[in-house]
Amino acid sequence: MNAKSHQAAQPGFSIPGNRSITNVIIYALWFIAAAFLTTTHASHAAENKAQVKNGIIFDQDAKCTKCHDENESNPVLSIGKTRHGTRADGRLPSCVGCHGDSDTHVNKPEGKKERPKPTFPFGKQTLNDITAHNEVCASCHKGGKFIHWQGSAHSARDVACTSCHQLHTAHDKVKDKRTQPEVCFTCHKEQRSLVNKQSHHPIVEGKVACSDCHASHGSAGPKLMQRDTIADTCFTCHMEKRGPFVRKHEPAEDCTICHNPHGSSVDNLLKTRPPYLCQQCHEPQTHQGGISGFNSGTGAGTRTKGITMGRSCLNCHTNIHGTNNPANVGNERTFRR
């Protein structure tokens, strides 16, 4: 009658009976990983003798780095700290791979007062031809999670890759969940306002990032959802609401019918305070059409505290996402036990 066993609960990849798997995995693998890193470190360090020919980061990059050091208005060397500056990765394009040959930029034509920009200057000049600049990135980043980039809302709205990403720095803000939201809020102003409301996901606290739910590079789901539907994306964290149940709350096909995931003035991210929220769908058959008020009593009649205060309708209809109770009683349809 109490806690149940999971021994034969479900088929699949579960590990029966082991509910402290997180700790086991973490402790064991941290230790193994640390020990491994310690032993491999020495050999890697010994190999760290590769020399770059005629350059600092990449072979032949002196063409660029002879001017672009940290004392120049467009410093570039910090890319050396990043994945794009990892010289051993043969897939990487080097300076001209992204910025083009830029012959007139390197060798200023006579008679030109100002030095012409590189072929693909990025930065502010990206705006002059966003499609071409983005194609530079997409020439490599086109498989896996980038498959749906073309046709996505960001691509169709001419969002440049460099509007969100910074490449010449070790800390790309948008790849750090603490700083990612401020990048997204550059355009998404309403969401910035909402995440500061009293009921919110821990976004401003740096525990949830926009990319936990949204695939900014495109997806087959609506609203750039990480999964195929809004509900499926919510279920990745809130799987207890997935069911199916004996009695299901039908609008649960889309969690955002009742919840605003970005933030709300009402507890539990509800879009509207109950009973008003519930009264947007339910017929006033018995007590459902009651008026909010502060009459005494915890009943469910009109103007009572019971329908107005506390959790309102949810004071009784507590299993509101669905119930799996098979009880042979009429009121079980109403998510109350």
């Binding site: 799996n324 009683v329 036990r337």
Partner: protein, 718 residues
């Protein structure tokens, strides 16, 4: 309930492994590139950082400490590290990162990667959420799935017993591995195990009795993602398996004692002494995504997926009533579990093209069929000749068809015009005897047009207009079931007047403006404005109940100003107003309406600067003013309820003193003030607090002030 102090601690194995990792990343033994200037090496060599310090919070905080690990007053440790090492010869990275190590929001990650070849990582993330309320109750057994009330009276006196603060802790472990077989072929696998433990507010009740309960949270969620990616020059393919599983250690909540009406219901009713909790469930998805570059200007994409979800958790034990067992037994279905099964098929096709230099087009079609194949059985014995149920469970299937077409043309003088049409059609299964308005099909068509212009090199703007129209098939008639005849009774029952908001006819008009202006090189201004109006049209009957009109307006202004090389300031302000007009009532005499208005004003200010060559400072302030109004009229005119205000002021300051090139001391100060007149639990004026029938009550401190001070020592090395 877990009454232990929830401070993060590192058990011995973890401490040892962290220490070993520190040694691995230490600078000792790292080969220097002797040809390069040390200053250049500083710029191109990955950097590691370590921060150690102490923080102090002035008091227990309900709202401020809800998610940030600073819920309890007192002193705590601050520990963070980011250790990065790269072997340039092989492109092999070692990364270890730790954050929030002194508070119950700890994050740890170790990653080993040979770039372009293979990578594996292990990650741990702890996330604790505290309830923003204080609970007073005599409920016993909180935190377990066996609760009890010592008394069984109809109503209890208001409790003076304070429960320990409620919280839910999520511990997330993630393992990942990927391997690059070749330049084109990559294998990825991710496994995530999430354990969620704690407790949260729950309840039970009838129209006259409401009791406080606490739901025990002891859940495990597992997700496995296996993907094989092929990335060719023209053709890309990604296919794999995604499995997800949920397990709940408690599938039922047992309650002893409490109110008579809930505890000892008489047949044919059943008591509320057993509540069902979330059932175990599992889903398997197989998916294939691809793209093909037909020409250098035309690309097609697709995704197909098949998901098989099931729920076969054992049913709860249904408690017996006082008196005779209902006809058909306590569980009339005769089933031990639901036999829940949901089969979903997704097909998504997309095409993008740029047939001319100035013209781009995209089209997308998406079809999802969610087929509810849950076993159908009679769960409820119906004897009435006018029942609101026929006793069967009601599987709900849903199919959704989306179409999208958009074209964009670059006009002379920097203008770009974009037009698009979106279409959505939803088909829902409608079986069962219904008590809420329903329709089998809804469709919505949206037309969009947007004009963008680069007004000058430093001024850009866009203006968009969107019009949507949603309608659907005729509403089904709500009818009762006649147990005598075995059919639904002819004619309508109930009021049959509501248009549920999610399927209601709706016309939406939306205008959106965005400008970005840099009048001077160091100054940037942004203005965003949006206005949307929803009109739900005439009601289904003369009462016009349900939602009638909705609106939303947003105005937001941002400014960034680099005053000079040393000082930079930014600020933003937003006003967001939403309004919903709705009505309810079963007759003209009881008809009432309400205008639900929420207005949020938010202001943010940030400052960064250098006081001297060794001291830099920064400050951030966030002011939020939130007001909700509930303007009731009609039959409710004499039943006004007060507005709810929620004000937040958060001011943060930091100062950093550089000890040398690679180390500094940082001082952080935070002042946080939350103020509210929320009457949800505390009550307003003469209403008094909301007190459950069992005497439990809930309190929110209406005036919360918190100070935080933290001092950290930070150093970096390469």
């Amino acid at each position: 309930m877990n009454t232990q102090t929830r401070k993060a601690t590192l058990p011995l194995p973890l401490k040892a492994s962290v220490a070993a990792t520190l040694i691995a990343f230490s600078t000792a033994g790292q080969a220097a590139d002797e040809d390069l200037d040390p200053e250049v090496l500083r710029l191109i060599r990955p950097e590691s950082t370590v921060s150690l310090g102490l923080g102090s919070v002035s008091g227990d905080s309900q709202r401020y400490g809800m998610y940030n690990g600073q819920h309890d007053s007192g002193i705590f440790g601050i520990g963070e590290f980011s250790l990065v090492r790269r072997d340039d010869a092989t492109g092999t990275w070692l990364r270890a990162q730790g954050r929030n190590l002194g508070i119950p929001q700890a994050e740890l990650r170790v990653e080993h990667e040979r770039q372009g070849h293979w990578q594996y990582f292990v990650e741990y993330d702890q996330s604790t959420r505290y309830s923003p309320y204080t609970f007073y109750s005599n409920l016993q057994g909180v935190g377990s799935n066996s609760l009890s009330y010592a008394n069984t009276n109809t109503a209890q006196p208001r409790s003076t017993a304070k429960l320990p603060d409620m919280s839910v802790e999520r511990q997330n472990a993630r393992l990942g591995f990927n391997y690059q077989f070749s330049r084109d072929l990559e294998f990825r696998v991710n496994f995530q195990n999430t354990e969620k433990k704690g407790e949260r507010q729950f309840g039970r009740g009838t129209p006259s009795v409401q009791e406080f309960l606490v739901e025990p949270i002891d859940w495990v969620t597992r997700q496995l993602d296996v993907v094989l990616n092929y990335t060719g020059n023209k053709f890309q393919l990604s296919g794999g398996y995604y499995g997800s599983l949920f397990q709940n250690a408690n599938n039922q909540l047992n309650i002893d004692g409490g109110n008579t009406a809930l505890r000892t219901a008489a047949s044919p009713n059943l008591p509320f002494t057993v509540m069902s909790l979330a059932p175990d469930n599992i889903a398997h998805q197989f998916h294939l995504t691809g793209a093909y570059q037909f020409t250098d200007k035309t690309r097609g994409t697709f995704k197909v997926a098949r998901t098989l979800a099931s729920q076969r958790d054992s049913f709860v034990s249904v408690p017996a009533p006082t008196g005779a067992i209902p006809t058909g037994g306590l569980n009339m279905s005769g089933r031990g579990e639901l036999g829940g099964r949901l089969d979903t098929t997704l097909v998504n096709l997309g095409l993008t093209s740029r047939p001319m230099k100035n013209l781009s087009m995209l089209a997308n079609v998406r079809y999802e069929d969610r087929n509810d194949n849950t076993a159908v059985a009679r769960y409820i014995n119906v004897t009435s000749a006018a029942s609101s149920t026929d006793g069967y469970n009601e599987p709900r299937s849903l199919s959704t068809l989306n179409g999208k077409f958009e074209t964009s043309y670059q006009l002379p003088a920097g203008y770009r015009v974009t037009g698009g049409i979106d279409y959505e059609e939803k088909e829902r299964s409608i079986s069962g005897v219904r008590v809420v308005g329903y329709r089998a099909r809804t469709q919505e068509i949206s037309e969009r047009i947007e004009l963008k212009k680069s007004l000058a090199e430093d001024l850009n703007g866009s203006l968009a207009y969107i019009h949507s129209d949603r309608s659907g098939s005729a509403y089904g008639i709500l009818q009762t079931y006649n147990a005598t005849t075995g059919n639904v009774n002819p004619g309508a029952s109930y009021s049959n007047g509501m248009q549920p908001i999610y399927i209601a006819d709706r016309i939406r008009n939306k205008v959106r403006l965005f400008t970005d202006w840099t009048p001077l090189e160091p100054l940037n201004l942004q203005l965003a404005a949006e206005s949307a109006e929803d009109n739900y049209g005439a009601g289904r009957n003369s009462l016009d109940i349900g939602v009638r009109r909705g609106s939303a307006q947003l105005v937001s202004l941002d400014a960034t100003w680099a005053i000079n090389d040393k000082w930079r300031v930014n600020g933003w302000l937003s006003r967001n107003v939403t309004r919903m007009d709705q009505a309810d009532g079963s007759s003209a005499a009881t008809l009432w309406d309400a205008s639900l208005i929420n207005r949020t004003d938010t202001i943010g200010i940030g400052l960064r600067g250098k006081l001297t060559g060794t001291i830099d400072v920064g400050a951030d302030a966030m002011l939020g003013r939130d007001k909700s109004e509930y303007k009731q009229a009609g039959a409710a005119a004499n039943s006004q309820i007060p507005d709810i205000r929620y004000d937040q002021t958060t001011i943060k300051f930091f100062g950093r003193y550089a000890l040398d090139k690679d180390s500094n001391l940082r001082l952080d100060l935070v002042f946080d003030h939350r103020k509210t007149n929320d009457w949800t639990w505390n009550g307003a004026g003469s209403s008094g607090a909301y007190v459950y029938t069992d005497g439990s009550w809930v309190y929110q401190d209406p005036n919360q002030k918190i100070h935080f001070i933290g001092l950290t020592y930070n150093f970096a090395f390469r």
